[in-house]
Assembly symmetry: C2
Homo-oligomer: 464 residues x 2
């Protein structure tokens, strides 16, 4: 369908409801709002508005609905697949100023927040109350609204699951401007189709989240990290299914290779505790009793040593753990800083197929003559693989990237994997989702989209 | 729309694909298939078929789709809201013979089963492998397909969550007969709208589940139960938010009153460890270290004693725990055996509002002159409240039941509760769901139903 072009009358209307200093057009729109964290997909919205309450969002949405103007909701813009890029122009709503923590309820173990609150603010706030919000994506400056919209995962998914598992209730502005509440503070809910679970992971295409009630847990009192060097990556990763099978319950199992660690050291200007080995597993265990944690990690340490680990470095001080995990958190930025441009593959495969996938994608470097770097969540099968442009010209880059992606997503399907473990589909991964779901699956997704947004005005061109 | 009446040609077709001894008509259909566990809603299907594989389900569904014959999928028939009653006649598919455990995968911690496997079989099977399927509804003879379709909760939801949290992937026959697979063995998934989460809790209205891949956990090595007598129910229930706030993590917190315990003793012919007090909390703690469990339960025992508990009875042998929990598991049957007919309210409210709701519903006994018995999941806010017909005539029963329900569901809404915590909406609770979701919410549900089943032939008349 043809969307209406935003005109001066629309701008006036938006100024009237948002306030004159909250509406930006043309060169007033910072180029940051043209793209997300990976710059491959760029487009300026026709108008950018800043909002601070759900009623304003509702009014904008209703106006857009009546006038057939596309809307793109946006948080911190830390996405990697173009989900928050206004590819059809129209109105971009910057949700990041709706950033109030509204309520902590210690009797129901819930936290209610506006969508613009940053992940780092949530963890800090709840930990001050001796509570815990487990989802732990590397990008701490993402908004919770963005995390919910991509069903973000993070490091602790091995033990604690993903964002979906911690969303109890949502307030959402629908594409027609109506505001609804789904879920609530309740622990169980079997009251009709789970609308809440439709909005989680919908990448802002079914509704705009304006409030979220999150499930909290008591804060585990103790944690320990193990950094375990291996002679090579294959040996490291092949150890993971053995750890899972041992019935130990690690909080996180990450894998990393030396040159990514070196890039991170350079990027942060800080030494990593060890970078003498080719590959590492990084594990965390948490709990409330020392005995519980020690039993777990001793078992796992032994499994690693039996599987060829060179050592087991125990990190039980907060300081040391933070130095390791901050390096881990900087991997993406460090790889990005090492090249001119990059794109990523965020597949998830069954945990016992990771070694095969990583080996396969490593070999593509030689086949295509392109640098590929990876790290990721070995404990949950979610890999982050970066294809680096370096000094390739545009045509070469696009050809090689396309070829590499095609082989990777094909391989993932063969292994029972999925297109995205946690970054979403957005604009960039739509064709791979189509290959993965097939015509029937995609048609169901389109039907669902139409069930919520018949005129396709909310974040159009994303997901399906 | 008008559905096609099943005729002899249809029967012949079904005999051809299912086998002549798997198709039942007229008096061949046992009356058990006319209703579910509560007998209030009764209707015979026109034809009952037994299936043992997904292809057959697909063929039947395709035929029904082409001929506009309604289909009702059915498991063990242990539901309480008429979800598996063929209220429009048509074809009932008995899924309970698709009951094979297909695979346990210890490297990915998954179990793949057919939908007719019983809950009791799953727990037994995985525990033999030192693994654990946490959802623990009272009705162990329910099928896993039924549990997934109602998003069943159960006792352990306090610590472990509900069925939805343990469904990794599904194979589903769509209303047009196509077979699709959603999710898989992967731990994370952000690949488009979560179709899996639409089928979970859809009460067999969006597709027929023919295979499920479930998430398992390592089996906790130790467990202990505490039975805690209180002078009255109010004091017992008011203690629950204090327990939650203390940051202990019990596996289960159930509440029960003396006359329900006495009914259960009579029903089972077995003595409960204690029935001298008016009200009890029953708690379980599990984990892998004695220290961890002891720390938790000592803290909770003290909170209970400070809140007026009369004693704390510790049950740390398997035998003693089983005697308590088997009594708990028999409450529904015991109450049912004590009256002529009954209906139930399965609301869920925020955990700190349970005391208020239970007090409110108790008072309805005097107001309406009707017996009401309750027990439930105090730890997760999900109450099971039974309204007993005793010797009321049909008209009186319907009037009083209607009046009681109206007040209860109204009260639940006021407290931020939901219509159903775990039993679903089915046929019986549709009007209360409508009151709860409002026109906009119900319209979204109807749109979703149409997105999957445009001709409304799969379990029509349920949910919305």
């Amino acid at each position: 369908m043809a969307y209406k072009i935003v005109d001066s009358q629309d701008i006036e209307y938006l100024r009237g409801i948002c306030g004159p200093d909250k509406v930006f057009v043309g060169e007033e729109i910072n180029e940051d709002f043209w793209r997300d964290e990976l710059a491959g997909i760029k487009k300026s919205p026709e108008v950018l508005v800043e909002v601070d309450n759900a009623d304003t969002v509702s009014k904008i949405m209703k106006y857009a609905f009546e006038n057939k103007i596309p809307i793109t909701p946006r948080g911190s813009g830390t996405g990697l697949v173009g989900g928050a890029v206004a590819i059809n122009g129209g109105i971009m709503i910057n949700m990041s100023k709706m950033n109030k923590i509204l309520e902590i309820d210690e009797e129901n173990l819930t936290l209610t927040v506006e969508p613009g609150v940053l992940l780092m603010e949530i963890s800090k706030y709840v930990e001050e109350h001796d509570l815990f919000y487990p989802p732990d994506p590397g990008e701490k400056s993402a908004t919770i609204g963005g995390n919910i919209s991509t069903n973000a995962g993070g490091m602790r998914a091995v033990k604690y699951g993903v964002t979906r598992d911690y969303v109890r209730g949502l307030e959402v502005v629908l594409p027609n401007g109506e505001i609804i509440t789904v879920g609530g503070k309740v622990v169980k809910n079997s009251s009709g189709y789970s609308l809440k679970d439709m909005f989680v992971g919908a990448e802002g295409t079914l509704g705009i989240i304006t409030k979220a009630t999150l499930k909290l847990l008591p804060l585990p009192q103790k944690a320990i990290s193990l950094l375990i060097p291996f002679p090579n990556l294959e040996m490291a990763i092949e150890t993971v299914p053995r750890i899972i099978k041992s019935k130990a319950i690690p909080t996180a199992i990450e894998y990393m290779v030396r040159d990514v660690i070196l890039a991170s050291e350079e990027f942060l200007g800080k030494k990593f505790p060890d970078s003498t080995s080719d590959a590492y597993l990084l594990l965390t265990f948490d709990g409330n009793s020392t005995q519980e944690i020690e039993d777990s990690y001793e078992k796992v340490a032994n499994i690693c040593l039996e599987s060829g680990a060179l050592d087991v470095l125990i990190s039980n001080t907060q300081e040391r753990q933070e130095s390791i995990w901050s390096a881990r958190g900087a991997f993406l930025e460090a790889i990005k800083a090492s090249t001119t441009e990059m794109d990523e593959c965020d597949v998830v495969v069954p945990r016992n197929r990771i070694a095969e996938f990583v080996k396969f994608s490593d070999e593509l470097q030689g086949e295509f003559g392109i640098r590929i770097k990876s790290f990721g969540h070995a404990g949950d099968g979610n890999l982050h693989i970066y294809i680096l442009r370096d000094d390739l010209d545009q045509e070469d880059w696009e050809t090689k990237l396309g070829g590499v992606f095609e082989k990777m997503y094909q391989k993932s399907r063969e292994l029972g994997g999925k297109v995205s473990g946690e970054h979403g589909i957005g604009f960039a991964k739509r064709s791979f989702l189509k290959d993965s779901l097939g015509d029937t699956g995609i048609q169901l997704l389109k039907n669902i989209k139409a069930a919520f947004d018949p005129d396709n005005i909310l974040n159009p061109g994303k997901v399906c």
